[in-house]
């Protein structure tokens, strides 16, 4: 009897919550005219058919890096359009490639934070859906021409650049005093006192590309002799490494790692949290990385995905994005919205871009990829 008495309020509670959910007022539909009128100056609206379809879809599924893009961007989008955003996270872009290799029609509407070496194989494998340029006028308005016409995806048919990145390293300025900074040699030929305090990325392209660059070769080289030289360098440094870890935040904050291979923007991101961690932009140069968003073929909400991309390229939204992730923007009008102190930090030295290698598909296909996998396996064994 006691059980029954307990069950009655529980059943009532369940019934009330079900009724309440069912009777909850549906979010008010946003009108196209209202949307156009509320757009900030200089921003282009999506066409009415995209807008109506996106509102009808009402959902957006995003697959992205954990702990990266700020919540405010997604909250602002949901609030303005009444579209519910669901976010799934990955721990490395390599996971994304495997997921889509197993099931190319994985139903995400957008996958963000992919480097070209990740997005290009997905595009070639047919997992990236076509982007409708007519539905992203704001992106076209603020995207530099050279990024629209990149060699791997001319006309931005399958991917949209969102920010730039540079593979670099960070060091703890209170513990590391090495006159060679900011050369790659600090990382690949560490001084004896830093043995066991160095970490390298746990990613094939970064670890091998950076070693190639230190040796004076192209970051994306597929030349066997050059790659073997990079392998020898990496095998020499391996005994002095602490771990392979692409996001050694805990190790750096806990003073376990003193020098770590990391992306430049993430270096500043950590510096914001712990002032002793300072990023170094290598003297020898690095890669010119572009982060991309793709729109997978399995997407069930294509209009919402386009509406979001268009929203992301509003200058104030993009500024919010850049300010949170500390990566240089691709948006042409966002620099003027960023604080001067911030700009000083992310600005590159004069002429530095000339030392950076743009993406080359030779690294992610054929012999270039095979050799990289062999080297990485030998390094990790």
């Amino acid at each position: 009897m006691k059980r029954k008495i307990l069950l009655i309020p529980l059943a009532l509670l369940l019934a009330i919550s079900l009724v309440a959910t069912g009777c909850a007022p549906a979010p008010e539909k946003v009108a196209y005219e209202g949307y156009v009128a509320s757009l900030p100056e200089g921003c282009e609206p999506v066409p009415p058919e995209c807008f109506e379809q996106a509102i009808e879809e009402g959902e957006l599924y995003i697959y992205e890096w954990a702990e990266w893009w700020p919540d405010d961007i997604f909250d602002g989008f949901s609030e303005e359009f009444g579209i519910e955003v669901s976010r799934d996270y990955f721990a490395s872009t390599e996971e994304v490639k495997t997921k889509f290799a197993l099931y190319p029609e994985t139903p995400y509407d957008l996958v963000t934070g992919l480097g070209i070496s990740d997005a290009y194989p997905l595009q070639e494998a047919g997992a990236a859906g076509q982007i409708n340029p007519d539905w992203i006028p704001n992106v076209l308005e603020y995207m530099p021409e050279e990024l629209i016409e990149m060699e791997h995806d001319p006309g931005m048919q399958y991917s949209v650049p969102t920010d730039m990145y540079f593979t670099s390293y960070v060091y703890n300025k209170e513990l590391v005093d090495d006159p060679r900074i900011p050369s790659w040699s600090v990382l690949f030929e560490p001084a004896e006192e830093f043995y066991g305090k160095v970490t390298l990325w746990d990613e094939i392209h970064e670890v091998i590309g950076a070693a190639l660059k230190y040796l004076g070769y192209d970051y994306y080289s597929d030349n066997e002799a050059e790659l073997m030289e990079a392998r020898d360098l990496l095998l020499e440094v391996k005994p002095h490494l602490l771990v392979f870890d692409s996001w050694p935040r805990g190790l750096l904050l806990g003073d376990e790692a003193w020098i770590s291979g990391l992306w430049y923007g993430d270096g500043w991101f950590l510096n914001d949290e712990y002032e002793a961690i300072v990023p170094a932009l290598p003297t020898e140069g690095t890669n010119l990385g572009i982060d991309l968003a793709i729109h997978p073929i399995g997407s069930a909400n294509p209009a919402a995905a386009h509406l979001f991309l268009n929203y992301l390229f509003r200058p104030e939204v993009n500024a919010l994005h850049i300010e949170s992730i500390w990566y240089p923007p691709v948006h042409t009008a966002v620099l003027e919205l960023l604080p001067e102190e911030f700009l000083k930090v992310i600005a590159l030295p004069e002429g530095y871009l000339a030392k950076c290698d743009p993406f080359d598909p030779r690294a992610v296909t054929g012999r270039g990829l095979e050799l990289r996998i062999e080297i990485f396996e030998e390094l990790k064994r």
């Binding site: 390599e94 996971e95 495997t98 290799a101 771990v243 806990g254 003073d255 296909t365 990485f376 990790k380």
Partner: protein, 338 residues
């Protein structure tokens, strides 16, 4: 009688084995129990009808107990293994696609020295972990059974309790405790026992000890179960026949708990051999295990057929070890695992 000769040992063991069989026979579980009741009711019915129903029930008796387990096993064990086996014979495309082109190259690639080296290290780490678990787990289970008294269940609960928390969270907790700025190093430093923080993590010992921490309950539980099932009169009989406690342990207790020990060995060894998280989080650059090699090919290289082949080889090793253990441990080892 000379010290520890105990000539009746064989008779005691035979009795114990029969005793174990008798107990196992009584323990038929819920489904078999209910069918027994059904048979009894049918037994009281008149002739023809009774015979028909009895035959029908005899045919269906295994279904309720085997059916759900079989479906579960087919869906979540056989089918995924089938997919992995299927993928292992396919070819990877230039961009990570799985192409339906049959090949044996993935299996030929298993002959690389790197695979042998990583598998050997994995076996060594797993063996070390299992042995340490046995050396710690058996005395612990023995202590709980023999001296636990009314606190026996509470003590057993303490062994199981950490298992209720996520494995990953526990690993991060160990990392925080054992790091250079962690609680252990801070305590030792403040007590003046060390002058600089110890490098506890990121080496092979850290991997083995963390594996021991993670899987020790799986050794304690089957050993505990076999010790609880031990007939105390056998121990009394061997004592009466002049066996010393030491002799009694090695001639009666240990042989009679062999099934539990082998079950514990299987239960600890199998997760160790496939573990990739512990070497990833606790290991340095010299702790790469077979699970990490599968991860490298599956995820880092996005070569699913190559990763599947290594997975198949790993599964084959596990099956061989299981078979050998079950063969050595007999029915009791299988029961303890289940």
């Amino acid at each position: 009688m000379p010290r520890g000769a105990c000539p009746e040992r064989h008779e005691i063991l035979r009795y114990a084995q029969n005793d174990t069989k008798r107990r196992a026979g009584n323990d038929k579980g819920m489904f078999f129990g209910s069918f027994q009741t059904a048979f009894r009711i049918v037994g009281e019915m008149p002739g023809n009808l009774r015979e028909k129903i009895r035959k029908y029930l005899a045919k269906q008796a295994h279904l309720p107990s085997v059916g759900p387990v079989s479906i579960w096993t087919i869906l979540f064990v056989i089918a995924p293994l089938g997919f992995i086996l299927y993928f292992s014979f396919l070819t990877a495309g230039d961009f990570g696609q799985i192409l339906p082109i049959f090949t044996l190259e993935n299996y030929q690639a298993l002959a690389r020295p790197v695979v042998a080296e990583v598998f050997l290290r994995t076996l060594l780490f797993s063996l070390a972990t299992t042995m340490i678990c046995l050396l710690l787990g058996y005395p612990l289970a023995y202590f709980i059974v023999m001296y636990g008294g009314r606190w026996r269940i509470h003590l057993l609960l303490l062994v199981i309790l950490p298992e209720w928390t996520s494995y990953l969270i526990r690993l991060y907790a160990i990392r925080m405790l054992s790091g250079r700025a962690g609680l252990i190093n801070s305590a030792l430093l403040s007590l003046g026992l060390i002058s600089s923080p110890l490098g506890i993590l990121y080496n092979p010992s850290a991997v083995v000890l963390t594996l021991v921490y993670g899987w020790l309950p799986l050794m304690v539980l089957p050993v505990y179960a076999s010790l609880v099932g031990l007939n105390p009169s056998l121990l009394e009989a061997s004592a009466d026949l002049g066996a010393t406690p030491f002799r009694r342990f090695f001639t009666v207790t240990l042989p009679l708990t062999k099934g539990g020990i082998l079950a514990g060995i299987i239960l600890v060894f199998i997760p160790c051999i496939g573990d990739w998280l512990v070497p990833l989080l606790m290991g340095g650059t010299k702790t790469f295990m077979a699970g990490n090699l599968v991860y490298l090919h599956f995820i880092s290289a996005a070569n699913i057929p190559a990763g599947s082949t290594i997975g198949v080889a790993l599964t084959a090793i596990v099956l061989i070890i299981m078979y050998l253990c079950i063969k050595a441990g007999g029915k009791e080892a299988t029961e303890r695992i289940i």
